[in-house]
């Protein structure tokens, strides 16, 4: 009994020490908690979601009978093209594209009407000057919409001509308007998700998961590496302390800290930024605890392999960078090759983001295996850290 009580005292000494150390530097804690929230808040206020249409010039050859009104072309891809000018000087327009004065250049074929009437497909040249892969894809999309609309216009004109001809020769034709022939179907869209997609709502839980993971990793890694390098480990080796007591004490401290941070950031997300929490607070706390448990393991692993505080910080930043790229924070995990997805799922935050987004925005966790994955990652890292720490505490070689 005495041993159990002493063990609890030792564990609580680590918990108390860790909490005191963190609370003694409120600035660090505040920047970790409020920093990301502030960034999200500014992002939410400043981000409109509006993408400016491409500044476009149309080159229509002199002898072409194609329209020369900019609005005509603008209407073919509404919201995508801002047609600045319709010109016949292809070289000058090309130069403006290379100079960055315009985003998109559309060159109409020389003899579109003749080619068409003679049964040949004509080619519209579309050029852009983009290094941003997102804008590169958007320009391609705008081009597809433009070509589809143009084709529909041509089909509509041909249909109108055909109907007039048929009525003259054969009497009344079927009552099908040419625009229906050109565009026989149209889509009506509906998103059945329980919440309206919104940038803040979608990224809020992701930022939250990232903050929690980063907080747990950084604090644990630095705390343990400092103890290793300062010679404090020698004190632990001499004292009747076990690696289990040390680890549990630290885990409890950071679990308490993470819950406090989660409560503050959660309230700010839901209360101030209006991110929905459809799934309730209790499962939310559970996910937070699992994410913290797994993240602490990563931090401990870093602290046991890092040779200096600088290396611990560098490794923590690398995990953060990997998390931003692979966790589904920016790009969906499914977009990656299979082997890369394994790497993504080795990161606690990947599961944290998936679970929190589903829980908060859908009100249910469909990917329940992610809960088991988080617990598994945490357990494996805990056991690994425990074994490594046991060796470290046994003696310095």
């Amino acid at each position: 009994m005495r041993n159990v009580i002493e063990s609890v005292i030792r564990m609580s000494s680590f918990t108390g020490k860790e909490l005191r150390e963190v609370l003694r530097r409120p600035g660090v804690l505040a920047s970790l908690v409020f920093g990301p929230f502030l960034i999200m808040f500014i992002f939410g206020l400043g981000y409109s979601g509006y993408r400016a249409p491409f500044a476009t010039e149309i080159v229509v050859p002199e002898n072409s009978d194609l329209p020369r009104e900019p609005d005509y072309y603008g209407d073919l891809a509404p919201g995508r093209l801002d047609v600045r000018d319709v010109t016949s000087d292809a070289d000058a327009a090309e130069q403006r594209l290379r100079d960055g004065a315009i985003d998109l250049l559309i060159v109409a074929p020389e003899n579109a009407s003749t080619e068409l009437r003679s049964g040949h497909q004509t080619t519209i040249r579309v050029a852009w000057n983009q290094i941003d892969p997102v804008y590169d894809q958007l320009a391609g999309l705008a081009t597809s919409i433009l070509v589809s609309s143009l084709n529909a216009e041509i089909v509509e004109t041909a249909a109108a001509e055909g109907i007039a001809f048929a009525e003259g020769e054969l009497g009344p034709a079927a009552d099908v308007p040419p625009e229906v022939i050109a565009r026989p179907t149209k889509a009506e869209t509906e998103n059945v998700a329980p919440t309206e997609p919104n940038v803040i709502s979608f990224f809020g839980p992701a930022v939250f998961a990232l903050v929690l993971q980063h907080l747990a990793i950084t604090l644990t890694a630095l705390s343990m590496v400092r103890e290793r390098l300062s010679g404090q480990m020698d004190r632990f080796r001499v004292a009747p302390v076990t690696s289990m007591e040390l680890l549990v004490g630290k885990y409890v401290a950071y679990a308490v800290l993470s819950l406090a941070v989660a409560a503050i950031v959660g309230v700010l997300l839901v209360g101030v930024l209006g991110v929905p929490l459809l799934g309730g607070w209790l499962p939310f706390v559970g996910i937070v605890l699992l994410l913290t448990f797994a993240s602490l393991g990563v931090g401990l692993l870093i602290s046991l392999v890092a040779d200096s505080e600088r290396q611990a910080v560098q490794l923590s930043m690398l995990v953060l960078l990997a998390s931003v790229f692979f966790s589904g924070f920016v790009l969906p995990v499914s977009d990656f090759a299979t082997w890369t997805q394994y790497l993504a799922y080795a990161l606690p935050v990947t599961h944290g983001i998936g679970l929190l987004q589903e829980h908060m925005l859908r009100g249910e966790v469909r990917e329940t295996w992610m809960l088991a994955a988080l617990a598994g990652i945490g357990l494996v890292l805990y056991v690994g850290s425990l074994m490594r720490l046991r060796r470290v505490l046994r003696r310095a070689d």
Partner: protein, 375 residues
């Protein structure tokens, strides 16, 4: 009679100190003669004559570099063993092996009846280690740091409060208990480390360089503290690079290049180097040193100034009068005569030179100079 009085006083003081130490050991209980009592746990009696720490053939190599080479020594309970040597001589490696925080390449160690690599929990409660570098938490207050270490030893919050106060009072840090460790001066941080090592009332303390980088006044106060702990019956192994601090120890192990050069009491080491007591004789006029060389009991005489002689004698107390009489009978007035206490720097230099000479003459380098280890 001025010089005779000084000699008498010095001798009385040394004898009193030795008697007091002997009493402490004989009684086997803490003896606090007017000092503050800080023992939190009773110091267990060790069978008479049994060393509390014993190392035999202790060696440690880092890759192909030998840091500690074949050390053999024992530490009796209730004494201070000073491990003295220059920086990088292997002191910290030795003390870390003794605490079990560093493995050894070869040799045997026994501390409190156990091998430090396999200390049981209850044995760990009886020892303490004060590392060389400040390793406490800068963001915690002095009180919180001591409390943390006390909790590592399983001391509950109520008892802890009392022990923290005692430990901080011992090192005169109670008034600074709320100060963060990072705001304490270097000396205060060392004292805080000492308070942390003391808080659970250990029987054996391993103290690594407690006075490194500290001003002389504070060094003195730290040694006062260590000696007071010794007087309570605790056993201390203290490393220091300040050779003069060997004076404060009961036993001194002088380590150079990882090897034990000498191991004995400070007084015995002095005698070992100089071959006896040294008398400083000041005369009214210049004297030929040969005049005293023939006096029985005088080992050697050398002239250190025109009217000053240094005589190495078997026993200063008995030969002082003889020397004065010899000089007076030769018509030389003695202005002053007193026992010269060679500094430990001189002793250290002498021992290292003797070792080198022995080594040059093909002597056994591994055998330390030693007389019977009796503090």
């Amino acid at each position: 009679m001025r010089f005779a009085t000084r000699i008498a006083c010095a001798r009385w003081s040394a004898a009193a100190r030795q008697a007091e130490q002997a009493l402490v050991r004989l009684a086997g209980t803490p003896l606090a003669l007017g000092w503050r009592v800080t023992a939190q746990t009773p110091v267990r009696a060790t069978p008479a004559g049994e060393p509390i720490i014993a190392a035999s053939g202790l060696s440690r190599a880092f890759d192909d570099r030998i840091a500690v080479d074949d050390l053999t020594f024992e530490v009796q309970p209730g004494t201070i063993l000073g491990v003295v040597g220059p920086s990088g001589s292997g002191k910290t490696t030795t003390i870390r092996m003794l605490t079990g925080t560093l493995g050894r390449t070869s040799g045997e160690i026994n501390v409190l009846g156990e091998d430090p690599m396999h200390f049981r929990r209850r044995t760990r409660r009886r020892i303490a280690y004060m590392p060389q570098l400040f390793s406490l938490y800068e963001d915690l207050s002095a009180q919180e740091n001591v409390g943390f270490v006390a909790a590592l030893y399983g001391i509950g919050p109520f008892r802890r409060r009392r022990l923290i106060r005692r430990a901080l009072e011992v090192v005169d840090l109670w008034d600074a208990r709320h100060k963060l460790a990072r705001d304490l001066s270097g000396g205060m941080q060392r004292r805080l480390e000492l308070a942390c090592a003391l808080v659970h009332g250990p029987e054996v303390l391993f103290v690594d360089e407690p006075t490194a980088g500290i001003d002389p006044l504070l060094r003195q106060s730290i040694w006062d503290e260590l000696r007071r702990l010794r007087d309570e019956g605790r056993t201390l192994v203290v490393t220091t690079q300040y050779v003069a601090e060997a004076e404060y120890c009961d036993q001194v192990a002088l380590i150079v290049d990882g090897a034990l050069v000498a191991h004995d009491t400070p007084e015995a080491l002095r005698q070992m180097v100089f071959g006896g007591d040294v008398l400083e004789i000041n005369t009214a006029r210049a004297v030929d040193p040969e005049m005293l060389a023939s006096v029985a009991g005088v080992e050697s005489v050398r002239q250190t100034a025109p009217r000053q002689l240094m005589a190495t004698v078997a026993d200063a107390a008995t030969l002082t009068t003889t020397i004065i009489d010899t000089l007076r009978s030769a018509g030389v007035d003695v202005v002053g005569i007193e026992e010269h206490q060679p500094t430990f720097d001189e002793v250290f230099t002498g021992l290292v030179e003797q070792r080198r000479a022995a080594s040059d003459n093909g002597g056994d380098r591994s055998q330390p100079r030693s007389v019977t280890a009796d503090a």
